[in-house]
């Protein structure tokens, strides 16, 4: 494995980190960079936020998120699953839309209260 360079996102300094094949992190100003660098190289994860279609609400879309971070390489699989969803109002923050989105073991949940319109 070649050395990987990345930008630390923990603080505004934005250190340029280098992570070698033994997971040694260099270029970091503080210890938090080591933790971030190792995590980002071994198991990068992201929270995915998007929208799903909804009927009988004041707007045609309802925002959603993955309840926990999911592996970065699964982002587009998660988006495909999100695009299949079609809700009907009312919904509330935290309502589970998909229990296990794209085999990640993570739930997809509603992030906005949307009332049923008359």
């Amino acid at each position: 494995m070649a050395d990987i360079t990345l930008t630390c996102i923990i603080c505004p300094r934005g250190c340029r980190l280098t992570v070698d094949e033994h997971l040694n992190v260099t270029g970091n100003f503080c210890p938090r960079g080591i933790v971030y660098g190792k995590q980002e190289v071994t198991n990068p994860t992201r929270v995915v936020t998007s929208t799903v279609r909804i009927d009988r609400a004041a707007l045609p879309l309802c925002p959603v998120k993955t309840a926990q971070p999911i592996p970065k390489k699964k982002i587009f699989d998660v988006m495909s699953s999100i695009n299949e969803v079609h809700l009907t109002a009312p919904v509330a923050i935290g309502d589970v839309v998909i229990t296990d989105v794209a085999g990640t073991g993570v739930a997809l949940v509603v992030t906005r209260n949307m009332e049923k319109i008359p």
Binding site: V47, T51, K65, R112, N113
Partner: protein, 419 residues
């Protein structure tokens, strides 16, 4: 004429937090006026996460953060009017607004809190040369269309400006199937947070062109092409460095400006933030008119907006009880070299609490520098900054006893280590 103790203009994060701050200090005769169809303002379209870490100690999306504030409004039964547009404010605090139900209405307020947020600089504001086709819009407009109404604004997109909303839209459009060909930034540094650089651009291999700007837009009815070029130190395009991109959409993320027209029309003095000049209670030069949130100065964290607006609401409550001192003397606060603006613009030591709070932005990224406070020409404090950047607002607290008089000028400057 109808009367109200307190009118709050804007039902976004600042307006709601200001209302709660005032209500909890005893103001019960109040009303929020909101232009849009929902409480929550811009938070509703900011469906990404990263909000709330200081205010609620957890990471929330925009709509979730908005709902926390909406719940605080509903719990207190604080009244609000939606789809309601404020036309004018007079010095006597008569507020004229209109909506589809009541028509044009005048209300005599005893106090007013301005919380109308900011607007985006658009294509007209930056004067892009070339055609005027469809397909050129601001990042916030694109965000509204995509996230609340479900319109993908384009298929091949270029983004001008590396502000955070532009970066976040680069990711959103990519996730929804558009191709983002690049982001051009006229400054030699990025104006977005590192986190957004990494998670919105690098994650999707979207190139960033620093020291570049769009020099021409081409298209008859719809945008067909943008041309970008490298710029020199004076931000002038360098001939021969042009690159072409075949795109149907150009998104602008080129700055936010306080939406302060209502107070400007009153002749209320402004600060370099382009919001009203306020004192430590967020009170403008007109007694009983307050300003907070992005209409005062553009924030990068909604958590900071909420804290500021709550304090403005508490100050309005003091004013209504006659407990806010009438200012006779005050100290002017000015931005010095390297500083864009400072809030507040004046301070009265007699009633400012134990600490002086300064909020400001630097003009360019700097390392190993000092923030220097000068009072009537004498340096009273220097604070070391290993790193300081324009895209993050600084908030600093100094003890009040550092000042020995209630007259004169404080200048906040950025100075080199040697100076």
């Amino acid at each position: 004429m109808e009367t109200k103790d307190l009118l709050i203009i804007g039902g976004g994060s600042a307006g709601m937090a200001a209302a709660v701050g005032a209500y909890d200090r005893g103001v019960k005769d109040l009303l929020i006026l909101e232009k849009g169809p929902f409480l929550g303002g811009i938070l509703n379209q900011c469906i990404h996460n990263g909000f709330g870490l200081t205010e609620f100690k957890e990471e929330l999306t925009g709509p979730e953060f908005a709902q926390r504030l909406i719940t605080q409004i509903l719990d207190r039964k604080i009244p609000y009017q939606l789809d309601t547009y404020v036309i004018s404010i007079s010095k006597e605090k008569v507020v004229t607004y209109m909506n589809g139900t009541d028509g044009v209405v005048e209300v005599q307020a005893k106090a007013i809190i301005m919380a109308a947020g900011c607007y985006e600089r658009n294509a007209g504001a930056i004067g892009i040369p070339g055609d005027r086709p469809a397909g050129i819009l601001t990042a916030g407009q694109a965000q509204l269309f995509l996230n609340e109404y479900g319109y993908l604004v384009g298929h091949r997109v270029f983004i001008l400006g590396s502000g955070d909303i532009g970066l976040i839209m680069a990711r959103r459009l990519t996730l929804e199937g558009a191709k983002v060909l690049g982001v051009a930034e006229i400054c030699p540094w990025s104006n977005g947070l590192n986190r957004n650089m990494v998670q919105c651009l690098y994650d999707y291999d979207i190139p960033l062109f620093l020291s570049h700007t769009v020099t021409k837009v081409i298209g008859r009815s719809r945008l067909e092409k943008v041309i970008i070029a490298k710029v020199d130190e004076k931000k002038n395009p360098i001939p021969g460095t042009e690159q072409e991109f075949d795109v149907d959409t150009l998104i602008l993320s080129v700055g936010l400006v306080p939406n302060n027209d209502l107070l400007d029309n009153l002749g209320i003095p402004t600060s370099r933030s382009r919001g009203a000049l306020v004192n430590e209670h967020y009170e403008t030069s007109v007694e009983g008119i307050f300003s907070c949130g992005n209409v005062l100065h553009v924030h990068d964290l909604v958590d900071n907006v909420v804290e500021e607006a709550r304090q403005a609401g508490e100050a309005a409550a003091l004013y209504l009880k006659g407990q806010l001192p009438i200012h006779k003397e005050s100290i002017a606060v000015l931005p010095g070299s390297g500083i864009g603006y400072v809030v507040p613009g004046k301070i009265d030591l007699a009633d400012c609490g134990d600490d002086l709070i300064f909020k400001f932005r630097v003009r360019q990224p700097s390392r190993n520098v000092f923030i220097q406070y000068e009072f009537n020409g004498i340096i009273i404090k220097k604070i070391f900054k290993p790193i300081i950047i324009p895209s993050e607002m600084e908030i600093e607290k100094l003890p009040k006893n550092i000042l020995n008089s209630n007259q004169g000028t404080i200048t906040v400057s950025l100075v080199d280590k040697e100076a």
